[in-house]
Point group: C2
Chain length 348, copies 2
DNA sequence: CTCAAAATGAGTTGCGCCCCTCAAAACGCC
DNA sequence: GGCGTTTTGAGGGGCGCAACTCATTTTGAG
């Protein structure tokens, strides 16, 4: 009727006894400290593995004394997505302090590689155990990340990755897949109709935007080649500019049936659509769930919001940094960020 | 540049000093133990609140000595969704044992109210700190749950809720919203076409199925009233039976354009569709992500899988039970289970 | 004011581990 | 065999709290 899933509670002392060594030696092996003969190391490790021994995290955490400090390197300005991440970190404050974890924000211009790299270099000397960074993929940033890693600091890239660096983990979505998802949804939702598809991004220079565009075009070319994709517009993630660009575009093309906004500025695009009176005829897909996109979804202007859960990203980044600092395995399933497809009826 | 998010690390001793009482009194207040005058209680609590004091969980966990034991009451048989939940619990075993948590499976016939109630009553006397149960909503089950709660055991309903009981938490999705989502997707994906929509469930008697059907019909009636919904079929979650029912239905109705499978038996439905050669013309929506539905999505037979993440549910149930046992606040955002819309391009 | 009951203080022990010191033993080299 | 070096043992202090005992003080009812 009842099956055990967890084993008994061994302690370091049990391991020491079974291996026929002292506590000190087990401790040395466990923490890769020098001064133990290779075959003693092997023997102890084998006993640990055979018994699936896990040091009691609570005891370890308590014994270590000093609190762990993590830095979150985030962009300046009022980017709503980043503000949400900060807000969720704030919601965790009780959770964090009960675990004696300190999370500090480091605000910097993450879009300027040299400024970002300098900010990261500053952290290298400091007392941080881990750093989460919204990173631009640039050689100097990559070097700064590698320096942090070499200094023994755990590094997680957040939202935007630097795959060529030696960062320990990336917390964010696969943006190519997100673009593919947007393409597939537009293609499916326009149905039998034929016409033109508009696409607007913040800038092609941003890695995440470029990847989404790539994935989008990939799907459109291979599966919906009968649809006519208009040249990419760049709205710089600004509402006003996006609105103007889309208004003009709608004026010129009465046969637009789909519209994909890759970045921010969704409010501007929506206004242009509504003012033209074409918000119900055009399938409109954008990114991220905010109060604004939620409203647009509910009123039917926006058909789908593709979103990565900022709360999940914030918590995952903290958990991953903590697991890395503890040399614990990471629950990869848990920390993987999903591409959420949000429509009116499955809004969280 | 850097803003603090966490406060300094106070201890019980600091609180005692600031309140002008002894450690023993603070301890009594913290654990609601008797023998403290009301205004002393208030004074101490005020100091705790003012300093946002959080007892060090690691120290508390270590001091308490005995491990916590949780029971997961799950259905007998080879229900793939439940097997996934069990598998994910298995993946957590290192995480669990590092925290000295024991999770045990209690397999029972959750579809028979009296058997389920009896299984729950058995747990009431035992040493469990918490119970997660896939519950049938029935008066005797409700009573058994309430008995557990009265006995000081934390109770979480999993996947299927018993809202009328005094369970501490529900870990699962809103099935009405899931049905609405299915309806909205079918309505949108069939596009301009008109025709009939088929719907097959395991049984109308199952609460989750009934709720999904309700949500589905709601959306179809209000937003896609031009579509013709065929009478509900009951496939009993079996592949063979579902296949036969759908085959016959397809033969009788050449104008079916959409198909919603509310429960299991998706393989059977898919086979019927493929054999009739109509898998590409009919919009097919089903539930849950398994190896099988993943394959069907990739080959295009299945258009959308609506899913609740079983790994997330397993982990959330454990975390919620643990937080409840520790009298910690629950991160409700984190523990909320989302309705995932999975298409070929956003498969995890 | 008296006395029992209630409230509080003071202290102890132990949870399992980290991190440190120092001494003892084993080892390898010549 | 003697030497220095490496490896190992033994032990202790301390982390913050839970849970307990027992003595002492305060309180309120009569």
């Amino acid at each position: 009727m009842a099956e055990e899933t967890a084993s008994a509670a061994l302690t370091l002392k049990d391991i020491a006894r079974e291996a026929g060594v002292s506590l000190a030696t087990v401790d040395r092996v466990l923490h890769n400290r020098p001064g133990v003969r290779p075959d003693t190391v092997r023997r102890v490790q084998e006993i640990i593995a055979r018994n699936a021994f896990q040091p009691h995290v609570a005891a370890a955490e308590l014994a270590r004394g000093r609190a762990r400090r993590f830095a979150f390197v985030m962009p300046v300005g009022a980017n709503p997505f980043m503000l949400q991440i900060k807000a969720y970190l704030g919601e965790m404050s009780a959770w964090l302090s009960a675990r004696r974890l300190a999370v500090e924000m480091v605000i910097t211009d993450v879009f300027d590689p040299s400024v970002l790299a300098a900010s990261l270099e500053e952290l290298a000397g400091s007392e941080y155990d881990g750093v989460a960074v919204v990173a631009l993929d640039h050689p100097s940033v990559r070097a700064a990340i590698n320096d942090l890693v070499d200094g023994g600091i755990k590094v997680v890239t957040l939202v935007s990755d630097v795959p060529s660096s030696r960062r320990h983990h990336y917390v964010g979505i696969d943006n190519i897949a997100a673009g593919r998802t947007a393409g597939a949804l537009i293609g499916r939702l326009v149905g039998q109709r034929s016409g033109k598809i508009a696409i607007i991004a913040g800038s092609q220079g941003l890695r995440d935007h470029a990847e989404r565009i790539f994935g989008f075009n990939q799907v459109m070319a291979s599966e919906f080649s009968h649809l006519d994709i208009l040249p990419l517009l760049e709205g710089r993630d600004e509402d006003d500019r996006s609105q103007q660009l889309i208004s003009r575009l709608l004026g010129r093309h009465p046969d637009i049936i789909g519209l994909y906004n890759v970045g921010a500025g969704t409010q501007g695009v929506a206004t242009a659509l509504t003012e033209a009176g074409r918000d119900k005829q055009i399938v409109f897909i954008a990114h991220d769930l905010t109060a604004m996109t939620r409203r647009l979804l509910l009123q039917g202007t926006l058909d789908v919001a593709i979103s990565q859960n900022p709360g999940h990203e914030a918590r995952a980044a903290v958990r991953v940094l903590l697991s890395l600092a503890r040399n614990e395995p990471i629950l990869s399933e848990q920390e993987k960020i999903r591409i959420d497809i949000l429509m009116r009826d499955n809004l969280p």
